[in-house]
């Protein structure tokens, strides 16, 4: 199946095209086509995995060159797909979680008249995301990168009849453009340095490049990753992206697309290994974002925005791990996979709650939903335990490893990065428990017309499957370091290093902080009464509620100067560029008007013109030449 991996992209792409072109005729059955396409892609990926497992480790990577994309003298770009352990991991995550979310969406979007279009976009997303992770060159990766950006834009703005949703889609798109430009510059630098854009050539030549070149490329790749993965300072779009339907938030803005930045960093490992400065910046961005996201998460009352902040924070963990080099790569991907399960599960749970509460998103109007929605409570609870990192649930195996790895090193780095990761764990426990208790426990603070009920099976079954994953996937993959071993052909083998603190101490510290966070949240939001309106709070909370004024900052730093710049340019274009063109055009027209007089309409003057011309030519040639 490895050589047929292109089918995984082709199936959802074809389905997307079919659903978009078939129009209203496909309304009745279109969503099932979408589900089947996504499921088919999963089966292809599964086949590839099984085939790969049967091969010796060193020959697991396989490049399928499909056709030549851009033939050119110095630049030959082939369209090729790279199936190796890393990309297959992503393929399985994307298609498995994707298929579950497709199924969930069948029920969730049942009453939406545009459900077929929704599935077309979802399929488009799956195809683009698979292209992103299967590409064997940065250029092809960029095609997928832009494709998921487009799908994300279309899906955030799916209900674009509401202006603020359309604005949110635009915002996501614009902020992502900044990241895209980073990727374009990185590709330009690579082409200048290596003369190629395919992974094998670039990575083979990377050790020969200078540190400065590699650092520049690495930082530009980081800019790209920050845009797509909502890392500081390009994080502002993710909260607004929650305007999209909840399955979209679960699939794109939690489990898959936003992790593309992490994928990019891990895939570009050979470049970063030659650029330690760039690596430190990656880790620093991750550490900062994980704390930033955690603080925002503590202040949000909108359940989806709180989950979005949590996503930002968790990707910060992955970014931090990716910035640690070979010892962190495998854990970054490991956490990415487990996070994909439990966060998608919790988003679906949130969707189920919203479904039950007439699309209410304010957690201050929830409470005591446990009784009404037992399945949602259990599945969400498993996700909650997983993200907290309570043993033996998934998050424990992935997040704790990152914390341990962050403490490895010399000088200030282990203390800063490790400390951030450790504190982040406590904060995570607090805000996730706050979310969990405010939603499912305490007193009911519902509005009068709300009658919560459990969601249909089409929605709860995917939630249950994801919950099982949240609970046990970490344990299964961590046993015997199975997962890190599996990724070794790509991420390289990492020597074991001892953290600056002993591992048992770290585990104990982490668990204590998590317990403090969770218990604190229980006292404040579980047992005590939660006010229905957000109370006046400290300056920090107010700042966190408004995402630390990110929009104001962006407006002041980027938007206003940008507007001034464009206005000036428009003026200059009008006055100088157009002015020059128009002036000289008028000059030509005047010249025409003047020479028009020569054409008097009188045949004698015509003959005279000929004669004069003839005489001039003859005189110059005959007399001048002699």
């Amino acid at each position: 199946m490895q050589s047929l991996i292109w089918l995984a992209i082709a199936l959802p792409l074809a389905s997307s095209a079919l659903l978009l072109l078939a129009g209203r005729k496909a309304d009745a059955w279109g969503h099932w086509v979408g589900v089947a396409a996504s499921g088919g892609a999963f089966l292809v990926g599964l086949g590839a995995l099984l085939e790969m497992l049967g091969q010796p480790e060193e020959s697991r990577a396989m490049v399928n060159t499909l056709w030549t994309f851009i033939p050119g003298g110095d630049l030959n770009v082939d369209v090729g797909l790279l199936a190796d352990p890393l990309s297959i991991t992503f393929v399985l995550l994307i298609t498995f979680v994707g298929t579950l979310i497709h199924v969930y969406s069948v029920a969730y979007m049942e009453h939406d008249p545009d459900r077929r279009r929704f599935f077309a976009y979802l399929n488009l997303f799956v195809a683009a995301m698979l292209l992103l992770v299967l590409a064997d060159s940065f250029l092809l990766l960029f095609v997928g990168w832009e494709g998921v950006g487009l799908a994300s834009y279309l899906l955030i703005g799916f209900w674009n009849s509401k202006p603020e949703y359309a604005t949110a889609a635009n915002k996501a798109f614009f902020v992502n453009r900044i990241g895209d430009i980073g990727l374009i510059i990185a590709m330009g630098l690579m082409f200048a340095t290596f003369g190629a854009l395919d992974f094998s050539t670039v990575f083979a030549q990377a050790p020969e490049a200078t540190t400065a070149q590699l650092t520049a490329i690495g930082l530009m790749l980081l800019v790209a990753a920050c845009g797509k993965s909502a890392q500081f300072p390009l994080q502002s779009w993710l909260g607004d992206a929650m305007a999209g339907p909840t399955p979209v938030s679960a699939l794109i803005h939690a489990a898959t697309m936003v992790t593309a930045g992490v994928y990019l960093i891990v895939r570009s490992a050979p470049i970063f290994s030659g650029a330690p400065d760039a690596q430190v910046v990656v880790a620093a961005v991750g550490a900062f974002t994980l704390l930033l996201g955690a603080f925002i998460g503590m202040a949000k009352d909108d359940i989806k925005k709180a989950l979005a902040a949590s996503t930002m924070s968790q990707i910060g963990y992955m970014m931090l791990a990716a910035g640690l080099g070979p010892i962190g790569y495998a854990f970054a991907i490991f956490h990415l996979v487990t996070h994909g399960f439990f966060k998608a599960g919790m988003f679906l749970g949130a969707g189920s709650v919203m479904h039950a509460m007439n699309d209410q998103v304010d957690m201050r109007r929830y409470g005591a939903l446990r009784g009404a929605m037992m399945v949602t409570w259990i599945t969400f609870g498993l996700g909650w335990l997983a993200i907290l990192g309570v043993p033996p649930f998934s998050g424990y195996f992935s997040k704790d490893k990152i914390i341990e790895a962050a403490f490895v090193g010399e000088g200030w780095q282990p203390w800063v990065f490790g400390g951030a990761a450790l504190i982040g764990a406590g904060l995570t426990a607090f805000y996730m428990s706050r979310l969990f208790f405010m939603t499912f426990h305490g007193k009911a603070r519902w509005t009068d017309d709300q009658h919560p009920h459990e969601s249909p099976l089409l929605m709860t079954v995917p939630m249950m499957i994801l919950a099982v994953g949240s609970a046990f996937l970490g344990l299964i993959l961590a046993t015997g370091d199975r997962f890190t071993h599996w990724l070794e052909p790509v991420t390289g083998h990492a020597e074991h290093h001892d953290p600056v603190l002993p591992i048992p101490v770290l585990i104990a510290l982490t668990l204590i902080l998590v317990a403090i966070g969770a218990v604190g949240a229980w006292f404040k939001y579980g047992r005590a009464d939660v006010p229905e309106e957000a109370p006046a709070a400290s300056l920090v909370t107010v700042a966190a509620r408004s995402d630390f004024f990110q929009d104001s900052v962006n407006r002041a730093v980027a938007q206003r100067p940008g507007q001034h710049l464009t206005r000036t340019l428009v003026y200059l274009d009008h006055a100088v560029v157009d002015g020059a063109v128009n002036k000289q055009a008028r000059g030509w027209a005047n010249l025409g008007e003047a020479s028009r007089r020569l054409q008097s309409g009188q045949v004698r003057s015509y003959a005279a013109t000929m004669l004069v011309g003839l005489v001039i030519v003859a005189v110059v040639i005959v007399v001048g030449g002699l």
């Binding site: 025409g592 020479s595 054409q599 011309g613 003839l614 030519v617 003859a618 005959v622 030449g625 002699l626």
Partner: protein
């Protein structure tokens, strides 16, 4: 003194003989077939069949040509692939032209006056129109013109070249005078064309006389050899050469010998303008190529600046004057002057590439010209009683044509873009080939000017496109314009548009053909 009958190899002349013979038969038909409608049908069929037969004969000759070609009547005529290629191009223009000549409006009127001899606006003219008379002499005239032009491309003797020149010119002078509407303007145009043409013929003949005086030769090859022998630069020879070239530049329409072009293009019946614009330029270019490459090439250094100067003057003046025209036909006329300049650009350095580029350029230009004038002949004013009136040639009247007739306006846009040299049209390939030939010959300053001129020229071509598609029909003028629907003209428009596109996208076939044709037969003997 005994005369020996000259040995004439008739077979290589078969295509020309077929066309000129058909023209003569056409004159007889004028005398013997009395009903105008029947006469027109018979003439059209005769013209089509004879030109198609000539084309077929050409193809056979092309395939069976042994060696470089054949000399006919000692050094008078040379039938080589170069000549065959140009003759085919002219025949294609002739075939398209005759279809335009035969087409009629919905109300059944042709583009030609019912009685050429009648005074405009006189009783005789009205009577002739009422009786449904038709000047079907235009068909044999067209055949004479085509035959003369074909001859023009294969003649290799300066005196005989003059004969061929007059054969097609006289036919053209008459056809220009036969417009149905705006008769006075048509007469005026024909008279001007005739007077200036006679003037240029005189100049040409004078030049031939001087060259004969200097070299005692009249055949191309012999003159060429004689020039080689003359060691110092002979004033008599140079003056003669200049005069000969002026005669040809007049036919191409290069500045400052272009004055007839706008008036003749505007006054002539539009089908005649279409044919004349395409075919005359091709024939004159063919002769110029042959003369420059087989006869005057030893003087390349002396005459090159003359060609450069006329090329620059033509491009500059043609372009700026086209900018300010408000009449579609005049605008296209000045555009043809600018194109004459582009054609002359190719002669920079007399490269081998130019011999391939020029036939292609002329083919592309001619197809677009015929198509464009065919469109012009379809856009009509509506008279007050609702009948189809004269052609709407004011630019403003074309506003919103895209809504009235997307097919015509789309085809017209294609032709205009081809004139402008926009990629995916034949005009682009033609310009590209011509310019690269000039660059290869060291004429890059010329090419630079040509590119600038093309950029300026794009303005007035695109302006018409904008007018047709992006401008609304003026208020109250909705009924003033009518798009006439004549099947023959429509057919010509579609065929030329398709050809312009095909040559623009897949030019390889035609270019290969012209590459095979890029050799001259220059024999020493005779």
């Amino acid at each position: 003194m005994t005369f020996t009958t000259p040995e004439i190899a008739w077979a290589p002349l078969a295509p020309i003989i077929i066309v000129l013979g058909a023209a003569s038969i056409g004159v007889l038909i004028e005398a013997f077939v009395r009903t105008p409608a029947t006469r027109r049908t018979v003439q059209l069929i005769l013209g089509l069949v004879s030109m198609a037969a000539a084309l077929g004969t050409l193809a056979v000759q092309w395939a069976s040509l042994d060696g470089a070609g054949t000399q006919v009547m000692r050094l008078m005529l040379t039938v080589d692939r170069q000549a065959l290629a140009w003759q085919s191009v002219i025949l294609v223009f002739g075939l398209l032209g005759i279809l335009l000549f035969a087409s009629r409006t919905r109300s059944g009127e042709t583009a030609f006056t019912p009685l050429g001899a009648a005074t405009p606006g006189s009783i005789e003219e009205t009577l002739a129109r009422r009786r449904g008379l038709e000047v079907t002499e235009v068909f044999p005239l067209l055949l004479f013109a085509v035959g003369g032009m074909m001859l023009f491309t294969c003649v290799t003797d300066y005196i005989f070249l003059f004969v061929a020149l007059e054969v097609f010119s006289l036919a053209l002078y008459i056809m220009v005078a036969l417009a149905r509407r705006r008769r006075l303007m048509s007469h005026e145009a024909a008279l001007k064309y005739f007077l200036l043409g006679a003037f240029s013929s005189a100049i040409y003949l004078f030049g031939v006389a001087l060259v004969y005086g200097a070299t005692t030769q009249t055949s191309f090859a012999a003159v060429g050899r004689a020039i080689d022998v003359i060691s110092d630069r002979d004033g008599l020879l140079l003056a003669g050469v200049v005069l000969i070239l002026v005669g040809l530049l007049f036919k191409i329409g290069a500045v400052p010998f272009h004055s007839w072009t706008p008036d003749a293009y505007q006054g002539a019946p539009t089908p005649v303008t279409a044919f004349m614009g395409a075919a005359t330029k091709a024939a004159a270019t063919a002769a110029l190529v042959r003369i420059l490459y087989t006869s005057l090439h030893p003087l390349e250094w002396e005459i090159s600046w003359m060609l450069w100067a006329t090329a620059i003057a033509s491009m500059a003046l043609g372009t700026v004057l086209a900018l300010v025209q408000t009449n579609v036909k005049r605008m296209l006329a000045y555009s043809s002057v600018a194109h004459a300049g582009f054609i002359l650009v190719a002669f920079a350095g007399l490269t081998a590439e130019a011999v391939v580029a020029l036939p292609f350029y002329l083919l592309a230009y001619g197809l677009a010209t015929i198509g464009a004038f065919a469109v012009v002949s379809q856009v009509r004013e509506r008279t007050e009683d609702g009948a189809v009136g004269a052609e709407a040639v004011r630019l403003g009247q074309w506003a919103g044509l895209g809504k009235r007739s997307p097919l015509l306006a789309g085809a017209m846009s294609l032709f205009l873009l081809s004139f402008a040299g926009i990629p995916l049209t034949a005009g682009f390939i033609g310009k590209f080939e011509v310019f690269s030939a000039a660059v290869a010959g060291g004429g890059w300053p010329l090419v630079l000017i040509a590119v600038i001129a093309s950029a300026i020229a794009a303005f007035f071509y695109v302006r018409l496109v904008v007018l047709m598609f992006l401008t609304d029909v003026p208020e109250g003028a909705e009924d003033s314009i009518e798009v006439d629907d004549s099947p023959l003209t429509r057919f010509v428009v579609v065929v030329t548009a398709a050809a312009v596109l095909v040559l623009g996208i897949l030019p390889a076939g035609a270019l290969n053909l012209f590459e095979n044709a890029a050799q001259f037969l220059v024999t020493a003997n005779g």
